[in-house]
């Protein structure tokens, strides 16, 4: 498990992520990361920092949408250099 995690952090970054991002363009993913960060601050951080969790409840609908968009664009980016099962987990309209 530790080896896999270690590989994922170092090997994945050098061998997969950087080459793909360079070849396919990472602008959409970067924009999505910005959206997720904004929503994360607007909802979760504010919810926790203001102590609202002691009296109210958390609304994650906008953050959920931003996360789905990020995952979707991430897969599209990773799919640009490969074929076949590449789109295994890509979101399709039928769902």
């Amino acid at each position: 498990m530790w080896d896999a995690l270690n590989w994922f952090v170092y090997g994945y970054f050098n061998a997969v992520l950087v080459p793909d991002a360079v070849a396919c363009g990472a602008s959409a993913v970067l924009v999505d990361i910005g959206c997720v960060a904004t929503q994360l601050f607007d909802s979760l951080v504010v919810y926790l920092a203001t102590g609202e969790f002691l009296t109210g409840f958390y609304d994650m609908s906008k953050l959920s949408a931003a996360l789905v968009q990020l995952v979707d664009d991430w897969i599209i980016m990773m799919c640009c250099l490969c074929e076949d099962l590449c789109c295994l987990v890509k979101v399709r309209s039928m769902f």
């Binding site: 994922f8 994650m60 995952v71 990773m78 295994l88 987990v89 769902f95």
Partner: protein
Amino acid sequence: MPGQGTIHVLTPLCLLSAFSFDVSLLKVVPFMLPLPMPLGIILPALMTQYEFWQSIESLVNFGAAVLQIFWPLIINLLNLTSPTSRPNYLVAATYLCQFVERINPAVESTLQRLWDTFIPWRFNFKGVLGWNVALGCILVDSAQIVLTVATNVDIVVFNLFTPAPNTYIGPPYTMPVDLWRGPIQQSIIQVLNTWAPTTDPTYYFDVHTIGRTTFIEGACTLFTRIICDFDGTDTPCFNDNPNFANQTMNGGFLQGFNWCCFVNTAVTTVNDFNVIVYSFWLHTTSAADWFGWLDTGIGPGLYLVANDLTTVADCIFSLVDAVPVVGYCLKQVFVQLLRFFFLLAAFSLQVSGIGFGVLSPVLLLLTASSPPS
């Protein structure tokens, strides 16, 4: 560039390498996590589902609800003061049930995606985990009721024979029993408890199944999908006419036995038994209340369960119906014989209940004459 040479290569060997992390695999399955297989590809697929993230919201809110229960208690503990109110677990249970409701469609869609990718036969996963949602919510709500009773049981213990005001500790609504097969039969529940939040029956029998899949509906969807309706086209597996209930309409395997009939009647039996347990919790303010319920409240439920068991037997013995000439008569003999024993058992149990009912005034008189010191 490392791994670049294997980009377009997809072989069974490549799929086998899913059990170890390999750059070439990541090129054909682009989004993986360093987790044991198949979790390594199922979890990323889940992350593409909106409902998955919304289920995390439910978990966060469940945590907040638990914190909101414990926070006042912690403050009381720090100030060395007595708590002003008792914990209410209803909100936490609602969010946990919502988590199950949200994660379920996300898992179904994920399984559908992986199935469609790897398996060459069509199978429609939509709705096949509906039973899981109902069962999850039933378990969560049942745990909530047990916790509520456990937290408040001292009220009953210290007021055994004298009901005290505001001591109702039973379930607030009928959802744990409604979700088995639909709204329960109100006529077999006795709501006469003076100290219950209200004696208005509609308070307890609000319809909690609107928009929800009951366990029996989910189980029937699962069985139907596995037995004959793989594509989920809603083609019935069996003839709707009860006289031809075992006549298979759509081919498939496990023919000749109406699984939906068996599941339906079996779950109905479990449900009606739960109604008896639920009815019991409506009368938990004093021993006199319990005995009164045993005297007059348990009877209708027992006879209902006895008749339910007869219908289960009828479905099981429908297999004997296939025997030429004597099949139908043979089935009737078996079923009616069992019905006799079921009703006899119900009668015996009710007589025992009446015995307790007769005994309760005696106990009350004894207690009144010699109050505990």
